[in-house]
C-alpha cells in the first residue's frame, strides 16, 4: 500500500516539477504559434482563436546602438500578481524581451493575494541572492523595505499607493527609484465619460476585490467619483467579486431589468461578452466599458455594445525597466521626487478602428517599445535624458504616436 501511495505521489510530483521546466518557454519552439497569432490579428473579428488565447511572445529584439554582449549581465527580478492571464503574460513577455536584448537575466515571481505573501515571496527571491534590480507591480512600503534590506534597487510600475502614510514613508528608502504607473483614475474617468456620452445613466460596477491589485482599486475609485460628480448619473450597485463576473452580469441584468444601461468592468474578459450573450443583452440598451482587451473585444466594439476600452499597460513596465537600467548602468536616479510617479496614458480605444490599430501594433510580435526605443530613455546610451522625456512620452503615449513610430 505504502509503495502504491509513494508511486502515485512520486508521479504527481515529477509531473508538477516537469512543468516548471515546461513553462519557461524557449523562443524557438514558440515562434511558430506566434506567427499564427500575428496572422490572426489581421482579422480579429472572426471571434475564434485570437490574442486572447495564443501564446504571448515578442520576437527577439536587437540592440543596434550598442553591442549587447559587451553589456554587464544584470539579474533583474519582475513580480506581478499572477502570470496566469493574458495581461500577466504580456508583462512577462515584455520584460523577457528587454532582458534578452540588454543581455540581462530575468527572473519572474508572483506575489500571492495577501500583502504578507508579497513580503514573503520577495524576501525569498532576494534572499536567494545576487539580484541586481527589482521591478515590482505596486509599491507597498513593507515590500520596498525588503528590497532596502537586501539593498536592491526597486522600481514600481503600474501601481502606486494612494494613502498618504504609505507615500510619505517611500522616500525613506534608499533603494526606491520611483514609480512609473498608468493613469488608472483617468482610465476609469474616460470609461465613465464614454458610457455617459453613449447615453448610459444607470450604471453598475463590477470590480476586483479591494486590495488585490492597486490599479483596479483606482479604477473603481474613479467610477465612484464620477458618479458622485454627476447628479444625473446613478450607480445601481457595486460588486467586488472578480471570480464571478458572469454571475454579476446576470444578476445585474435580472435585478435591474429595463433600468440598467451601462456597466463598467475594472477588468475586461471574455466572460463578460459570453454572459451578455447568454443574457441576451448584447448590442442593445446596455453599454459596457472595460479596461483590458480580450479576444472578443473587437466583435463587441464593432456592434457597439462596448463603447470604450484601453490597454497597452506593459509599455509602462518597459519604461520601468528603462528607469531601473539607467540606475544600474551608471547610477543615474532619473526620478528625484519618488513620491511623484511618472503617470502614463493608456492606449485608449474608443472604436473598432482603434482596436484594429491596437492589434496591429501592440499585440504584434513587436512590443510597445523596441529595445532601441527604450535605449533612448537611458542616459547611459543617450546623453541628456531626463525625467522630462519620460513625462513627455507619458502623455504622448497613444495609438497615433505608436503607429507613427512604427511607420
Amino acid at each position: 500500500m505504502k509503495k502504491f501511495l509513494a508511486f502515485v505521489l512520486a508521479g504527481v510530483m515529477t509531473f508538477t516539477l516537469a512543468g516548471c521546466g515546461g513553462t519557461d518557454s524557449s523562443p524557438s519552439s514558440d515562434s511558430q504559434t506566434a506567427e499564427e497569432a500575428v496572422s490572426d490579428k489581421a482579422s480579429p473579428d472572426n471571434s475564434g482563436e485570437t490574442a486572447g488565447t495564443s501564446e504571448i511572445y515578442f520576437a527577439p529584439g536587437e540592440l543596434t546602438i550598442a553591442d549587447a554582449s559587451e553589456l554587464p549581465r544584470y539579474k533583474i527580478a519582475f513580480s506581478y500578481y499572477a502570470f496566469t492571464d493574458k495581461l500577466g503574460l504580456q508583462f512577462k513577455a515584455a520584460i523577457q524581451y528587454l532582458c534578452d536584448a540588454y543581455n540581462c537575466e530575468a527572473i519572474f515571481y508572483e506575489f500571492g493575494s495577501t500583502t504578507d505573501d508579497q513580503v514573503t515571496n520577495t524576501e525569498a527571491v532576494l534572499a536567494a541572492g545576487d539580484v541586481d534590480g527589482l521591478i515590482f507591480v505596486g509599491a507597498t512600503p513593507s515590500v520596498v523595505a525588503v528590497a532596502q534590506k537586501y539593498n536592491v534597487p526597486y522600481v514600481a510600475v503600474c501601481g502606486f499607493p494612494s494613502l498618504e502614510e504609505e507615500i510619505q514613508s517611500l522616500p525613506g528608502y534608499e533603494c526606491f527609484l520611483g514609480a512609473v504607473v498608468d493613469d488608472d483614475v483617468w482610465a476609469g474617468n474616460q470609461a465613465m465619460q464614454a458610457l455617459y456620452d453613449a447615453g448610459s445613466r444607470n450604471t453598475c460596477l463590477s470590480g476586483a476585490t479591494q486590495g488585490l491589485v492597486k490599479s483596479h482599486d483606482d479604477r473603481a475609485k474613479a467610477y465612484r467619483d464620477y458618479i458622485a460628480s454627476h447628479d444625473d448619473m446613478n450607480s445601481l450597485t457595486e460588486s467586488y467579486t472578480m471570480m464571478e463576473t458572469a454571475n454579476d452580469i446576470s444578476t445585474f441584468a435580472a435585478s435591474f431589468a429595463g433600468i440598467i444601461d451601462g456597466i463598467f468592468f475594472t477588468a475586461g474578459s471574455d466572460a463578460i461578452y459570453l454572459t451578455m450573450e447568454t443574457e441576451g443583452i448584447t448590442g442593445g440598451d446596455v453599454k459596457i466599458a472595460a479596461v483590458d482587451i480580450s479576444s472578443q473585444t473587437g466583435t463587441y466594439l464593432q456592434d457597439g455594445t462596448q463603447v470604450w476600452t484601453c490597454g497597452g499597460q506593459y509599455g509602462t513596465a518597459e519604461m520601468g525597466f528603462a528607469v531601473l537600467y539607467s540606475y544600474l548602468a551608471d547610477g543615474t536616479r532619473l526620478i528625484d521626487d519618488v513620491t511623484e510617479p511618472v503617470t502614463r496614458q493608456y492606449l485608449e480605444i474608443a472604436n473598432y478602428d482603434d482596436y484594429m490599430t491596437y492589434c496591429k501594433y501592440v499585440e504584434s510580435d513587436i512590443p510597445a517599445y523596441t529595445a532601441d526605443e527604450i535605449a533612448a530613455y537611458i542616459p547611459y546610451f543617450t546623453n541628456g535624458v531626463t525625467i522630462a522625456d519620460y513625462e513627455a512620452e507619458a502623455v504622448n503615449y497613444s495609438l497615433d504616436s505608436l503607429s507613427s513610430r512604427r511607420q
Partner: protein, 332 residues
C-alpha cells in the same frame, strides 16, 4: 383515509421545506419594492442555482459518510481548464467539453479516493492538500487558462441548464434512495463502527463516494466553464470561491432535508443562498454586506436545527414536574 393523511403529511412537509427559500424570496421582494419578484429575476436566480446545486450533490455524497471535500473547487477548475482546452483542440464542441470535463474530474476523484483509502488521514487534511495540487496542475499545461467561444455556452442558457439540473437531480435521487450504495452511505454515516462489523466495506464505499461525487463535480465544471467562458488559473486556495455557494447551500439543504427528499432539499438550500446574494445586489447594496448576513442567517438555521424539538422537551418536563409535585403534595 390513511392515504389522505399521507397526502396531508406530504403537503405539510412540502410547506415546511419551502418556508425558507420562499420566505427569503418574499423578504427581498418586499424590500426591493417588488424588483426581485419579477419573473426574469426568479428565472435568473434559478439558473444561477444550477451549478451550485450540482456541486452540492457532489459534496453531499461525501458529507453523507461524514467526509468533507475541500478539493472540489480545485478539481472543477482543473477539469474546466484542461478538459475545455482538450475539447477545443479536438474540436468536439459541447459533447467534447462534457466528455473531457467529466472524464478528468473522474480521474481526479479516483486519485483523491485512492489516496484516502491508502492513507486513512482525515478527509479535511487530505483534500486541503489536494486542492493546492489541483489548482497548480492546469498551470503546467495551460498557463493562460481557458477561453471558450459562444458556441460552448448553450448548456448554461435556459432552458438547457434546467434539463441538466433535472438529469442530475434524478441521478442523485436514484443513487441516494434507490441503490444499495446510497443506503450504505447513510449507514456508514450514521454509525461506521457497526456498519463495518455487519460487513459493509466502508473503504470501498468512501472511495466510490469520492468518484461519484467527482462525476457531479465534472458536470458542475462543464457549467462553470461554459458560463464564464474565460477561466483563469488561481493561486493558493483561490478555488474555494467556486464551490462556496454549493458548500454553504449544503448545510441549509441538510436542514431542509428533514422535510423533503435530499435531492430537492439541495436545490432549495442553494436557491436560498443565491436569493440572499442577489437580493442584496437588487437592493443596491454591495456584495460584501451579504457575507455578514449570510453567515448570520446560516448560523440561525443551524442553531434551529441543532436545538430541534427543545421546546417540546421543555414543555414535557414542565408538565412532568407539575405532576410530580402534585403527587408529592398529596402524599404529604
Amino acid at each position: 383515509m390513511k392515504k389522505q393523511s399521507r397526502a396531508l403529511r406530504f403537503l405539510k412537509n412540502l410547506i415546511y421545506a419551502l418556508i425558507i427559500p420562499v420566505g427569503m424570496w418574499a423578504v427581498f421582494a418586499i424590500a426591493s419594492g417588488g424588483r426581485t419578484a419579477s419573473a426574469i429575476m426568479l428565472i435568473t436566480t434559478l439558473r444561477q442555482c444550477v451549478m451550485p446545486s450540482i456541486i452540492c450533490y457532489g459534496l453531499m455524497l461525501n458529507m453523507s459518510v461524514g467526509m468533507m471535500n475541500f478539493a472540489a473547487g480545485g478539481m472543477m477548475l482543473c477539469a474546466c481548464i484542461v478538459g475545455g482546452n482538450l475539447a477545443k483542440a479536438a474540436g468536439m464542441g459541447i459533447p467534447g467539453l462534457v466528455f473531457f470535463c467529466v472524464l478528468i474530474c473522474l480521474i481526479e476523484g479516483v486519485i483523491v479516493g485512492a489516496l484516502y483509502r491508502v492513507m486513512h488521514v482525515p478527509s479535511i487534511v487530505l483534500t486541503i492538500g489536494m486542492m493546492l495540487l489541483w489548482e497548480a496542475l492546469p498551470k503546467v499545461f495551460y498557463t493562460e487558462g481557458l477561453n471558450l467561444t459562444a458556441d460552448y455556452t448553450y448548456l448554461t442558457r435556459s432552458p438547457y441548464c434546467f434539463f441538466v439540473l433535472a438529469v442530475c437531480l434524478i441521478a442523485f435521487y436514484v443513487i441516494y434512495n434507490k441503490t444499495a450504495f446510497g443506503h450504505n452511505l447513510r449507514a456508514i454515516g450514521n454509525n461506521q463502527a457497526i456498519a463495518n462489523s455487519v460487513g459493509l466495506d466502508s473503504d470501498k464505499i468512501k472511495f466510490l463516494s469520492y468518484v461519484l461525487g467527482a462525476a457531479f463535480l465534472g458536470i458542475g465544471a462543464v457549467l462553470y466553464a461554459s458560463s464564464n467562458g474565460e477561466i483563469r488559473n488561481v493561486s493558493s486556495l483561490g478555488s474555494m470561491s467556486i464551490m462556496f455557494d454549493g458548500f454553504m447551500g449544503m448545510f441549509i439543504a441538510m436542514f431542509i432535508a428533514q422535510f423533503c427528499d435530499m435531492s430537492f432539499a439541495v436545490v432549495f438550500g442553494v436557491f436560498t443562498m443565491k436569493m440572499l446574494s442577489n437580493g442584496f445586489v437588487a437592493l443596491g447594496m454591495s456584495s460584501t454586506v451579504r457575507d455578514i448576513v449570510q453567515g448570520g442567517i446560516l448560523l440561525v438555521l443551524m442553531i434551529i436545527s441543532a436545538n430541534a424539538g427543545i421546546f417540546e422537551k421543555i414543555k414535557a418536563n414542565k408538565a412532568f414536574r407539575q405532576e410530580c409535585n402534585d403527587l408529592y403534595l398529596k402524599s404529604k
